[in-house]
Every structure is written in C-alpha cells, then in structure tokens.
C-alpha cells in the first residue's frame, strides 16, 4: 500500500502537476512535440501487466465501455504507440454508474467516467506525457471506496502507515492525545476514553488479557452510541478501525506477547528474553 503511494508521489513530483485544460494542453503539446520522444516512457509496454485497461462489461451494461475501448485502440494506433489495451477485472454487475473505468495497473490508479471524447486526452496526457488527469481520477470527497485506505470525512484523517509501525501503538497514540482533550462533560467521553486508554496501556505493556479487547469494543460502542457530542464518536473511530482491520496485531500483543513491528518496548524486551532463552536452550542441546 505504502509502496504504491511512494511511486505515485515520486512521479507526481518529477512531472509538474497541472490541472488539465484542453487549450493549454494543445499549446504545450505542440511546443513540446519534439521533446516528447526524449521523455521517459510512462510505463513499460512489455511488462507483465498491461499498461492500460478498460473494464470488461457484461451484457446490458449501462456505460459505453466498448466504444471507449475502440476509441482507445484507434487513438493508440494513430499515434503509433505500442500499448495494448487490456481488460480490467471489475466484477461489474452492469449497474455501475461510474463507468467506464480506465485503469493503469502498473501505476495503480484509475480513471472513472471516461467517454470516447476524452480518450484522446487520456492517451496524450497520461500515456505519452505521464500526467494524471485529475478530473477523471476517482476521489470521492466523502468516502473512499477502496477497502485498503480507511478514509472518512468525519475524521478527516488518512494515515499512511508501513510495517514498521505498530497498530496498537497507533491506537494508543490517538487515545493519549484525545484523552486530555475531552471537555469532561459526558460520562462516555470523560471516563470511557480514560478507561480505554488504560486498557490499551495494559496491552502495550504486555499485561493485556482477552477480555480487554472486548472491553474496548464495548467502550467504543458506547462512545459511538451515547455521548453528548461527536468528539467521543470520532475519537473512538481510529481505535475501532485499527482493531477491526488489524485484529491479528492486537491478538499477537495479547496472546503471544509480541510486537511484530518492534515498537512496544516492554514487549520487545520480553521477545528478546524469550529469544535469548531459546538460544541458550539450543546451545545446551548442542552441547549434549
């Protein structure tokens, strides 16, 4: 997940970001026509995954995916480029309102709502010049429909987290931060947050029990159901989200007393001790 973001960001910083405008594009494309060949290709046409894909519609599809595919193929042909147009696996039932979808699997982003008229721009700007056409990019201001990014407008937070970060620690970090910010008026927020933080502390210290996770879930539920204002709701969300999406990490903390990311100091100490003991035992065995 993070890797994809990194390459995308790199691309974006290397090629200047401009919002797509037909007039400017026409002007600049003429001026840079000579240099275009010198540009680094947008993607590898000979790669395992195809450079550009269009969703494969089923019978009775509402969107005109097939004309878009044809237009794309023609456009690529007319420019004598070597890209082949693949078909994207979308699992579309034929009722999608956002289609047709044009994907770039090697770059991990996709366009929605492409029509035959915009195909020329897609090929010129994205495939040739490597620029993203933002108006076509699929970003919903309210909620992402990608399951791997948890994004919600209420929280206003996208966290990019790699393997070196412990999710339990992240959840605890949020709670530590929010505990002192509760106004203290209603019980679910004032005491709920405190008790949740204490429970999380226990888990991080390696003293967590199985009931603790259930305890946190109940507290989160109460803080979502019954508080006075949205503060409690939004501050319990990251915790709940971390617990649902990274349950295994929590369980590892509680059951096996280990922190895979190596962040929780107390657990790391425990892990080290366990390893040392194992090494010693192995040595003893060898001696024998």
């Amino acid at each position: 997940m993070l890797g994809r973001f990194k390459t995308l960001r790199k691309d974006l910083t290397e090629t200047p970001l401009t919002l797509f405008a037909r007039k400017d594009a026409a002007l600049s494309s003429k001026a840079e026509e000579g240099k275009a060949k010198a540009l680094k290709p947008f993607c590898d046409p000979d790669g395992k995954r195809s450079c550009i894909t269009v969703c494969a519609p089923k019978a009775g599809c509402l969107c005109d995916a097939e004309p878009v595919r044809k237009a794309l193929e023609e456009e690529i042909k007319s420019r004598s480029l070597s890209f082949t147009v693949g078909s994207a696996k979308t699992g579309c039932g034929g009722k999608c309102k956002r289609g047709p979808l044009v994907g770039f699997p090697q770059k991990s982003f996709f366009y929605v709502g492409v029509n035959a008229e915009t195909v020329a721009d897609v090929v010129q700007e994205t495939l040739v010049r490597g620029r993203i056409l933002f108006p076509l990019l699929s970003i919903d201001p309210n909620r992402s429909y990608r399951s791997d990014i948890y994004y919600e407008r209420d929280t206003g937070l996208i966290a990019a987290i790699d393997e070196n970060v412990c999710m339990v620690d992240v959840a605890k970090y949020f709670l530590d931060f929010e505990e002192g910010l509760s106004c203290g008026k209603c019980v679910p927020c004032r005491l709920g947050m405190k008790r949740m933080q204490e429970t999380m502390e226990r888990i991080v210290m390696g003293r967590g029990t199985e009931t603790d996770m259930e305890q946190i879930r109940i507290l989160c539920q109460t803080m979502i159901d019954a508080p006075h204002c949205d503060f409690a709701v939004t501050s319990s969300r990251p915790v709940l989200s971390a617990m649902t999406h990274f349950e295994d990490e929590f369980k590892a903390h509680i059951e096996r007393k280990e922190c895979q990311a190596g962040v929780c100091k107390e657990l790391v100490e425990l892990q080290k001790k366990a390893e040392r003991r194992q090494r010693l035992q192995q040595k003893k065995k060898k001696k024998k």
Binding site: G184, V187, L191, K194, E198, T222, D225, A226
Partner: protein, 772 residues
C-alpha cells in the same frame, strides 16, 4: 401550542410541542433513569444515563431523554437492548471512578447513584484496576459543607444550583477530561470564593460529594422521618423538610412543593436549628420562691403566672401589664395573646417583635394602594425587569426575595442595590448605591423627583389608575435634589443615573426588607415607595409591586391576627367603636378604648414605672437591639416578669415565672408569610420534657384568668379569627391547601396572588404628598 404524537414503548401519547422525551414518558408513567437531571434545575445532560433509543425507519440512535424534545411521529424505546447496554456501560464507568464505600457513606440509602446501580444491577468491578481520583477528604474549612470530591460524579447540579438558584456562583468545573473536578475559581476555599452558606449544593448533590456536616457519622438516611413545615425564622415562609432523630433536628432540606421558596432555603432556615437542639431547652416550668427559681409542673407555673398577673391587674390596673410576642408564633397564638390582653387583662398593651414596622407597612401601603402588605408574590420578583433592593442585607435577612432578584438580573433585568455596606447582593447588582444608614426615604424621593422631572413616568397608567398625582407633583418640586443628595450621601448625578436605569425597564419591582435598626417608623416612606412604583406603572402587574417584608417570621400573621397595640384582628383600629363592637360580638372580648403601647414604648414605660408586669412570649429582651443597661434597668424595676420561651434566654435570671414553650417545628397551626400566604404548620417532633406549644400555655393562662375565653382547639381559634378578618372571608383551617392560600381569599377558598389594578373609581391608587 401545537400538539405532537409520540410513541414510547409502544404507548402513544399526545403532548405539546417542545416537551422533552422525559416529560412525555413521565406522563405515561414510564420511568427513565436520570442523574444530572433535576426538575428544579436547568437542563444539562452531562451523565447520559437517560439515553433512550430513537427509532427512525431502518436505523436508530440514542438520544438524551432529559433534553431531547419530542418530534411528531417519534418512536422511542426506553429499555431496549441498545439502551440498556449503553446505560450499563455508563454506570460501570461512573462506578469505576467512585470510592464505592457505601458501607460508611453518609448518603447510603438516599444516594441516587446507589439506587441506579441497584436498579441496573451494576457492580463496581468492571474497570477495577482503573485509576481513581484521590482527592483530600474534607479539605475545606467551610462550616457547613463537607467535601469529598472522590465521590463526585460530575453531574454539575451544584454548579447549576449555585448559579441558577442562589446566584452566588462559586462552584465551577475546573480542568478537562478525566482531571475535571468541581471546584471554585482558582481553587480558593469556598468561604473566600464567596459561599453564602445557603446549602443548595448539598441539597442537590445526588451523592455525598458535597455533603452535610450536620449529622455526619450519626445518622442513617432510613432512620429519619422528614416532616415538612413552615420555617418561621424570616418572613419568607419557606416550607422545609426537617429530618429528626431522637428528638433532635439533624438537617433541613427545602420543600420543592412550596410555592414560596420552591425548594430553596437560606442560611438561617437550613443551618440555624441549634436553638431547637440546645441543651438549654426549657423542659419544665420555674416559679420564683424568694430569690430562687424552683422547677415545677406547667400547671403550677401557669397558676403562679395567672396569680401574679391578676394581682398586678387588680392593684395597678390592666394598663400596667404589657405582653410582647416573639416573631415565631403561629397566627392562632397571636390571636390568643391579644385575647388574653384585651379580654383577660383589660388593656391594649400587646405587641409583637416586628409590630412597630409591620404596622407602618400596613398604614403606608394600605392607605395608598388599598392592600397593606406585600403586593406581589416572592416568585414574581424573578420576573421583574428592574429590581430596586432597599433596606436590610437582603441575602441574610430576606434571602428568598434576594435570590429572586438575582434571577431577574440574570434574565436580563436591572438590579439596583441600596445598602450602606458592600453586601453579598451587590455582587450581582448593576448599581450599588452606598447610601447613609436609614436614608432610604431620601433615596426614594430622589428617584421620584428624577422620574417626574425627566418625564420618565407612565402617564397613561397614572391617569387611568391613580388619583391625586398633582399633589405629589406640586410637592416634590419643593424638595431640592441637593438636599436629598446630602441626606443619602450619594451624589445627585448618581441618584439620577440610578433612577433613569430603574425606569428603563418594566415591570419595576421594589423590594424593601425591614431592618429594625434603620427602618423608618413612619408610613410616609411606604407611601413614597408605592408612589415610585405607581409612577412606573408597576403596581398591579406581574413582576412589579411594592414588596415590603417585615423583620420577623410571622410578622404578617401577628398584624393580621391582632397582636399589635393599635389594631384589633383584621387591622380594625382599636380606637373605632364599631370595630370593638364587632369583636365583642364575635368572641365576647370587649377591648378597652384606651390605646396600647408598642414594645419600645413599653420598655420606656417600665423605666418610668408605669408598667409593672411584662409577659414575654418567645422574646429575649437582650436581643431587641436596645442598650443592655436600659434593658437591665427596666427588667429590674418590674414587679412581675413572666418569660415564656423554648430556651433559657438571658431574661431567665430575672423572671418570676418561666414557662417552657415549644419551638416552631413542634407546633400545629397556621402562619402567614410576607406575601400574605397562609400556610399550615405541622408538628415535626414532640417537645422535650414538659414543654408545650405557646397555644397551650396561653390557653392555660386564659383559663386561669378568664375561663370563659378559653379556646377549644386551634382550628376553632382560626375560624373565630377568620370571622373578624375580612380578607380571610370566613376561611377555615382545613380548607387551607398544602401550598397555602394568599389572602384576600374569596369565599370558595381561592387566594389572590397579587394586588390587581383598580376596577372602579373608589379603589384607585392614591398619591400622597412627599415629605422629607
């Protein structure tokens, strides 16, 4: 009001728009638990224990029942699984930061948190290892409040009570999150923060975080039997619930069903009950034998007293005997006392402690407004647009009026306080006029003059409802503003500014609490108060009026029931033959024509040797504000001194006969408060030893002196008096409702809350000439 229909737990009900779910559920008899909610406090919704499920189509949400207004077609579930789960978790959370030492807690049995935990079967073990607060127990030197903030559940009732009921505003929330606590600004000790010792925070605290000092470690709540009666320590006539244990009062709480105080009490009413519990309570009668007082039965005491009085009456005449009643007697006792004096002793020398002032209120207001008492109710003061507080240190002496005045100021009104000292009420006042002692009359004239000069008065009202305005107008011109400024010690401009401010908002409400030290002993002052209010068009309207309050508990009752030298019961002048005749007809007492003495005159007469015998009923002569030497000299010259009181007072040593009386909470009868509300007293506990109610003692004395006048029962005395008092319109005691009735009553038993605007020419309000 529009009506909306809601469905709660499957039952439909139609309620007014804007009703909260809690109120609607109450109408259906459905219980919704509450902690931070209190019906007599503004809404807060801090605890969230009252959450109910609001079901809307496919989804549902939890809303706080105590504040959420109903919507048409709303579907509510109060005990669904989601609700119960949330409530239980909230209770677990609350108990996780609570000491849970119910075994030794003062509040056990009356603790709302405990009840709630019991109801939802919540144990305090859910978050056992969680951090708990460890505040110091009882860190505050406050004489009445015992603080243990570890028990606090942060419902914030104390903050609201202190702000919205008392207006002292000392409690506040400090910090946020888990570290939040209830404290004063800058964590000052409560007394330094401005605690007025009203005790409302204790009364409202659902647990024992802000608790009672009285009875701590002695009482268990279920052993107490609270009885509600009227407090007679000030003329507000608050109903209070007295918790007693083994013949001792342990604590006092306000009675929320009383319209006079609506649950509030003052420092005196709540904490001043030591005289009832005092070890100096008189438990038997004493009769002087030579130089020694020997204890004896009450009958012997009564006999000795009657003999002594009869002896003085027969030798020196009835006019050489004086009777002074205290301020904490019931109406019937005042009536019996005046019957004793007028019927059995043959004089008019009867007075009560606040008599000289109450009589002036009657004379002044009666002549100009036609109603010789407080014109509006205490509750209405809170609805005033502008309040002018004159006279006593209102928070101390007439607290209920003061807290209502503060309420008016809080609701956007103007509060002007005139008092020589920087009294607590000035804290919330817009203007404080530090006038010279006893110069209220000049200040009121200054207000009147400014209002007339600057044409700030309500011309339509004056023309329509009053007569003889020109008289005042002509007269006031002669008085110079400079003269008034000099007398009050306030600059002319200040008086003018205050008058403009006072006239800027209607209705204007004038509070005058009698302070015996400075109160003017003439009726002109009250006439001028009435004139000021008439100019502002604020008499006969809600939230206005002249609200003059006496200086003793049942001052109004004493005047109405005739315990005053100048008036027979019903304020019929003694000097008028017709009223004496009416009295003779009603109860067979032929009052002498010769005017009697009020109590200051009596003490003068004793010094001159004109008065030979004094009968003090619930009066300590050394606490009257007279110089000690004068009182000592006077008492020493008396031939007969009969002291009847509930505790051994300083006159005990000088007495010939001492009669043990009951305190006001040990009596039955009725009392009239300053807003003319007649309320019934109830016997809270038995009197110690042989002590008897003043009624019994007076009746016994009358029986010994003139058996014909002996009363049958308290109710009979009340009915007899009601015949003479035209405002009561033949009211009988058992027709007085729990909340009391305000005279003038109408035949059916309904009272009159406030003086109404005059309907005919004759009843128009009258202006009098100003006099300095």
């Amino acid at each position: 009001m529009a009506k909306v229909t809601v469905k709660i737990n499957g039952q439909e009900i139609e309620v007014e728009k804007g009703t909260t779910i809690l109120e609607a559920a109450k109408q259906l008899g459905i219980y919704i638990p509450t902690l931070c909610y209190h019906p007599y406090l503004p809404l807060e919704e801090a605890c969230r224990i009252c959450v109910v499920e609001d079901i809307r189509g496919g989804w549902s949400t939890l809303v706080a029942g105590c504040v959420f207004p109903v919507r048409n077609g709303m579907v509510i579930e109060t005990e669904s699984e989601k609700v119960l789960e949330a409530r239980k978790t909230i209770m677990e959370l609350l108990l996780s930061d609570h000491p849970n030492d119910c075994m030794t807690c003062y509040a056990t049995g009356e603790c709302e948190l405990q009840d709630m935990a019991f109801r939802y079967k919540v144990k305090p073990t859910a978050f056992e290892s969680g951090e708990r607060h460890k505040y110091e127990i009882d860190p505050d030197p406050n004489p009445q409040l015992h603080l243990n903030m570890n028990k606090c559940i942060l419902c914030r009732r104390c903050i609201r009570a202190c702000h919205d009921i008392q207006g002292a505003d000392i409690w506040t929330k400090v910090g946020r999150g888990f570290d939040q606590k209830i404290s004063t600004a800058f964590d000052l000790p409560t007394m330094e923060a401005g605690c007025e010792l009203c005790g409302h925070c204790i009364d409202f605290c659902p647990v024992d975080a802000i608790g009672w000092r009285c009875g701590r470690g002695e009482i268990r709540s279920w052993t107490l039997q609270p009885v509600s009666t009227v407090c007679l320590q000030c003329p507000s006539g608050c109903r209070a619930e007295y918790d007693t244990l083994n013949g001792k009062v342990v604590r006092v709480r306000g009675d929320f069903s009383s319209p006079a105080n609506v649950g509030s009490l003052c420092k005196m009413g709540r904490f001043n009950f030591d005289f009832i519990n005092s070890p100096d309570r008189l438990t038997s009668a004493y009769v002087r034998n030579g130089s020694e007082l020997t204890a004896g039965s009450v009958e012997e005491g009564l006999k000795a007293a009657a003999e002594a009085l009869a002896k003085v009456r027969d030798t020196a005449g009835g006019n050489s005997i004086g009777v002074v009643c205290g301020g904490m007697l019931t109406n019937e006792e005042y009536y019996l006392a005046q019957k004793l004096v007028r019927g059995a002793l043959g004089s008019n020398n009867i007075d009560n402690l606040s008599g000289p002032w109450q009589q002036m209120i009657y004379d002044g207001l009666g002549s100009s407004l036609g109603l010789g008492a407080m014109t509006n109710t205490l509750g209405e003061i809170g609805k005033a647009g502008a309040v002018l507080a004159l006279g006593s240190d209102t928070i101390e002496k007439h607290a209920i009026a003061a807290i209502r005045a503060r309420k008016a100021a809080r609701d956007g009104g103007v509060l002007i306080v005139a008092h020589p000292q920087n009294v607590p009420l000035t804290k919330t006042a817009n203007v404080h006029l530090a006038l010279k002692e006893g110069s209220e009359d000049a200040l009121v004239l200054g207000f009147i003059k400014t209002i007339i000069d600057e044409n700030l008065y309500d011309k339509d009202y004056v023309e329509k409802n009053t007569v003889e305005f020109e008289r005042l107008q002509r007269n006031i011109e002669k008085i110079g503003m400079g003269e008034l400024a000099e007398k009050t010690g306030i600059s002319e401009e200040e008086i003018k500014d205050a008058a403009r401010l006072y006239a800027s908002k209607r209705p204007a409400c004038l509070i005058y609490g009698v302070d015996p030290k400075y109160a003017p002993q003439n009726e002109t002052f009250y006439r001028m108060c009435a004139a000021l209010q008439l100019l502002l068009g604020s008499v006969g309207v809600e939230g206005g009026g002249v609200n003059a309050m006496g200086c003793a508990g049942n001052a109004q009752g004493a005047l109405d029931f005739g315990a005053i030298a100048k008036y027979l019961p019903g304020c019929n002048p003694v000097g008028r033959a017709a009223s004496r005749k009416a009295m003779a007809k009603a109860c067979g007492v032929e009052a002498p024509e010769r005017a009697g003495m009020n109590w200051p005159e009596m003490f003068d007469a004793v010094e001159k040797g004109e008065l030979k015998a004094l009968y003090l009923i619930g009066v300590d002569p050394f606490e009257l504000g007279l110089p000690k030497s004068k009182v000592e000299g006077a008492i020493a010259r008396l031939e007969v001194l009969i002291v009847q009181d509930c505790v051994k007072n300083k006159a005990f040593e000088y007495a010939n006969v001492v009669l043990p009386a009951a305190s006001f909470i040990e009596k039955e009868g009725t009392a009239t408060n300053c807003e003319r509300r007649i309320q019934r007293l109830h016997k809270v506990m038995a009197s110690p030893g042989d002590a008897q109610a003043d009624f019994e003692l007076l009746n016994g004395l009358i029986g010994n002196l003139n058996p014909e006048l002996k009363a049958e029962s308290i109710a009979a005395v009340f009915s007899e008096a009601a015949q003479l008092i035209k405002e009561l319109d033949g009211l009988s005691m058992d027709r007085i409702p729990v909340e009391g009735v305000q005279w003038p009553t109408r035949g059916s038993g309904g009272g009159t809350a406030r003086l109404e605007l005059p309907v005919d020419e004759k009843a128009k309000f009258k202006f009098y000439a100003a006099r300095l």
